[in-house]
Symmetry: C2
Subunit: 592 residues, 2 copies
């Protein structure tokens, strides 16, 4: 079926259902960023495959909203359709709600799948349209009726995340959440977010590529908890594990039936931003709703001492795989046929040998020359450049291990560089080191700390169109909140035990890209009359490429920081390297 057939069918279904505007969001019922194929409804209908974007269809127009990461890709992928592309964040473009307001008449109906739209977003749409008396239909799931060869829901096996890696039993974690929920005045708690559930239960799955989650809901009550999940994903060991945590198992589909049983005696804590509108409508009709961010979100962001100990080893090991790969490139560049894809294969081969390896944490970005300027580039056999002994090569990758989730970027000088390439590299290094070394006050958020890195770019009349960093899970999502480091407003203070990436960059479209990324752990620094101060400890162990550095651009203090870091990299890694690799790393980490 091509786009025009699909859009014709959905418009027929809209007429049958009395729907004037149909919204096709980019979500599963769990507010996931990355989706199982089954839920890629917007990608199926529009042809745009990016991870963020919402489509709206009326009888006259089809429109798509996406953000800055995807403007180019979306335009390319919807070429040949009649879809109008609207760019989020561009002040002159209508927002989705403004579009709906303009295109709908008094008394019209807006439809969407109430399992694929979270409550907060649905309420925002509802509020924006309030004076047009618009009806909301969240139960007519029109895509279901026209997507015939739809992929099945995933059904991958669940595994136990051993308590030796975690330092806290599932029972204790649930008890902590139960206490927090009680403090909010609630007596039960529904969690829809998959990473929260996986963390709480010390279980991992494989339903979404690179994200070790399993589709489920968890309903926590005062005396027990129920996991709604496809039982085919379980085995007796897991059922036993759940039993020890006081968790019963029911069918994934049974959630709504059980929620129907709630009464006005129930005060249920949910997060409207991560609870499907359909589910919300069922429970709000029965029980008192308390809308809060899941207590799990903050608990899981703050890594405990066991997790931190494993994370340090994990990042060290990951550094070994990185160094072996960098050495391999050094050894073969200009001699062997190496493409962007080859590097990904070599790196993955080395990671697979590491203890507790589970898989990639995201699709490797191996980007040579102008590909480096595409922030989320993914090499294919067709697109992949052959690496030559010149210019910049950007390598952004990570692994999932039982002992943590890694994310590291290095940009390499494959040979001679232009002055601009060198100065872009050095500036990025300065920005990155500034953030790594900063001391900051309790209650500072990533909005404040973003400036510490970005101001180095601004001083040279430059900028990067991304955040400086993101939170990162522990054998969970490579993007994990609540903390992040970006210009976006945030009320999530950086607290000891949190882990964030630090990845400024320079992107020159059509030319090259530089990104340098270390992962940082927030640690206590000192307390005095002015307050409590925190600092960062760098987890990543991997050398920077001194061939790309303009030494004169670094201050004495920056040189010291770089040299100290390089020495720590050598000391941490050399024992696990061959003699040749060792010698190469020794040279790469010599004081500048």
């Amino acid at each position: 079926m091509d786009y025009f057939q699909k859009i014709k069918l959905i418009r027929e279904q809209m007429q049958l259902a009395g729907i004037d505007a149909y919204i096709v969001p980019s979500s599963d019922p769990h507010a996931s960023e990355y989706l199982p194929d089954y839920y890629k409804t917007r990608a199926w209908l529009s042809g745009f495959t990016g991870s963020a974007g919402t489509m709206v269809v009326t009888q006259d127009i089809a429109a798509l909203w996406t953000d800055g990461r995807y403007f180019i890709q979306a335009a390319k992928e919807i070429d040949g359709t009649d879809i109008v592309l609207y760019k989020l964040g561009e002040p002159l473009e209508p927002t989705l709600t403004a579009f709906l307001y303009e295109h709908l008449n008094e008394g019209d109906t807006v439809g969407f799948n109430g399992f694929q739209m979270m409550t907060k977003e649905a309420e925002n749409i509802s509020i924006a349209l309030i004076d047009k008396n618009i009806h909301i239909d969240y139960t007519s799931n029109l895509i279901d009726k026209i997507w015939l060869c739809r992929p099945y829901l995933p059904c991958e096996k669940i595994i136990i995340h051993d308590v030796k890696f975690v330092g806290e039993t599932s029972k204790d974690r649930i008890e902590r959440v139960r206490g927090a929920v009680k403090n909010l005045g609630a007596n039960c708690h529904l969690i829809s977010k998959l990473d929260d559930i996986a963390w709480l239960l010390n279980l991992r799955g494989n339903d979404i590529p690179n994200n070790p989650y399993f589709l489920s809901y968890l309903f926590i009550r005062e005396d027990d908890a129920i996991l709604y999940v496809d039982p085919l994903k379980l085995n007796n060991r897991i059922i036993d594990h759940l039993h020890q945590a006081g968790v019963k198992v029911k069918l994934y589909e049974d959630l709504l039936l059980d929620l129907e049983e709630l009464t006005c005696q129930h005060a249920i804590c949910i997060d409207k931003a991560a609870t499907p509108y359909h589910v919300y409508n069922v429970l709000k009709a029965k029980a008192k709703v308390i809308d809060r961010v899941n207590p799990t979100t903050l608990f899981k962001a703050i890594k405990n001492t066991t997790e931190i100990q494993h994370l340090k080893a994990c990042y060290r090991n990951d550094g070994v795989a990185m160094v072996k790969t960098l050495y391999w490139i050094h050894k073969h560049i200009g001699k062997t046929h190496i493409t962007e894809c080859t590097v990904d294969e070599i790196l993955t081969k080395h990671r697979k040998k590491l203890p507790h390896y589970y898989g990639k944490s995201f699709d490797t970005i191996a980007a040579y020359k102008d590909h480096g300027a595409i922030m989320h580039y993914k090499a294919t056999e067709e697109s992949a450049y052959v690496l030559e002994p010149k210019g910049l090569f950007l390598l952004d990758s990570g692994g999932q291990y039982h002992t943590g989730t890694t994310d590291v970027t290095r940009t390499l000088a494959l040979g001679p560089l232009t002055d601009q390439e060198k100065s872009d590299y050095t500036l990025t290094l300065k920005a990155m080191m500034a953030l790594s070394k900063t001391i900051f006050l309790e209650n500072a958020t990533g909005t404040h700390l973003d400036t510490v890195a970005r101001m180095h770019m601004w001083a040279h009349e430059m900028d990067y169109k991304s955040g400086t960093g993101h939170g990162i899970g522990y054998f969970l999502g490579v993007h994990e909140g609540p903390q992040r480091i970006s210009m976006h407003p945030s009320d999530a203070a950086l607290m000891p035990g949190m882990v964030v990436t630090n990845e400024p960059g320079v992107y020159r479209a059509g030319q090259h890209g530089v990104r340098l990324e270390n992962t940082l752990l927030v640690v206590p620094h000192t307390s005095n009359e002015f307050g409590h101060f925190f600092a960062f400890e760098t987890l990543t162990k991997c050398p920077f490429d001194c061939n790309a550095i303009v030494k004169d651009m670094l201050t004495t203090e920056e040189l010291l920081t770089l040299n100290t870091y390089h020495e720590s990299v050598y000391q941490a890694l050399h024992k696990d390297l061959t003699t040749d690799e060792q010698q190469w790393l020794r040279e790469k980490t010599m004081p500048l």
Copy 2:
């Protein structure tokens, strides 16, 4: 009447009116920060005289909320009463709404004067109490009934702010606002904010000390506008001026009567955060309400070329008064009896001689030794220290001129300093210069830029418990939004033409305070593939005290910045100084 008599009377009135909790806010009907005496109801009832604070009275308890600036002062002023002090921003203290929620029973009534509470705040209270079915009484003005010797409403004369200082007629300003209002889908606009009205009409008043406003409302319609104001404040020239701008005059009290005449054909633009709840209730019953920040707020924040030209001269002149005062202190310290009050008198005497002077822009903070650590210290004849030739003296002051509003702080070494005093001074200077010299991207807000200054403190495990700077009016409020530079989240981007202060500091309670404050103008810097970049131009012309500087703590670049600034100060000011003053300034501004 003492506190206990007052609280007894108000509780009697509450019983008569059927009110279970009575809120006494700190506002006039115009969301003013500083109030005419008539509206200082909370100060009268509680005894706490700070500029921010809200009191709640029930039959059992009286409570007061205030912010960090006033914790010490409030505790002192309510000593001897039974008022419970709650500190805003302390996580363990109940918020006002949480307090009300806890202390009220189902079906109870909350009361307040609907002219002294803005709509947004009233709605927040209402939403927080929604599930307790609480009734809101905003018309029983209980303080009116018990405050017998209450001050009259002010009735100071209004003056014209000549168009030569402003570069734009009132007619043109109103037309600009009318266009913006139309774009928001409204056909009329009620402004309650006094600075917005004064700016729009090119008029100034004197109803509030240091703030050149006059109590009024302005109602802008498609073809005309009505100023609601006490006619005793006007003369024929002003009536003529208003006539030329298409503005009619009615009695201040007539507003509500006129709003009663609105119909469903009216779409009225108001700012709920600056419209009294009483007024809102009248107009929402009649017309369609569009809630937006007044367009005036942004228009007035961006100074035009005429204003900028006058501002530069104004700040230069203000610098002359400052330098004459600093020289006078230098000349007399250790020889004459000088108190904190004396300095204020001398400085004010010099400012009064300057062209277009109107008055102070705020109460001078002249603070010696440990008084400098009190952020809003005001010297009285009783409290004032005698200045001696040692230690730090902090002087924060400003003037109102027809050509602008100034705000400048210098901290002086009156003689020998301790090492800590010197290093605190130098650190403050570093932080201040860093912000002054920063280049930043379009869309950056004061939340992002606050870090540029504050990180210098953090690097030394220090901090200041205030924002780094605030917007400032043009012959208007010394605090003016929407922009400010602070850790608080803000969506107000810094735009060319905006003026902000830059005033980091170090405050050591019981020891000393350092604050250095320049006023900055946002100017365009450059545009390229990365975006539009802005920078700051320093308006303030006044030397720093090199005797307080630890030269080794400054980088080469910082020394250059300081020396260049000092040379510009000398060049700007020396012609208006006596020979002795000139010579002194020459020495004070020699390259370090």
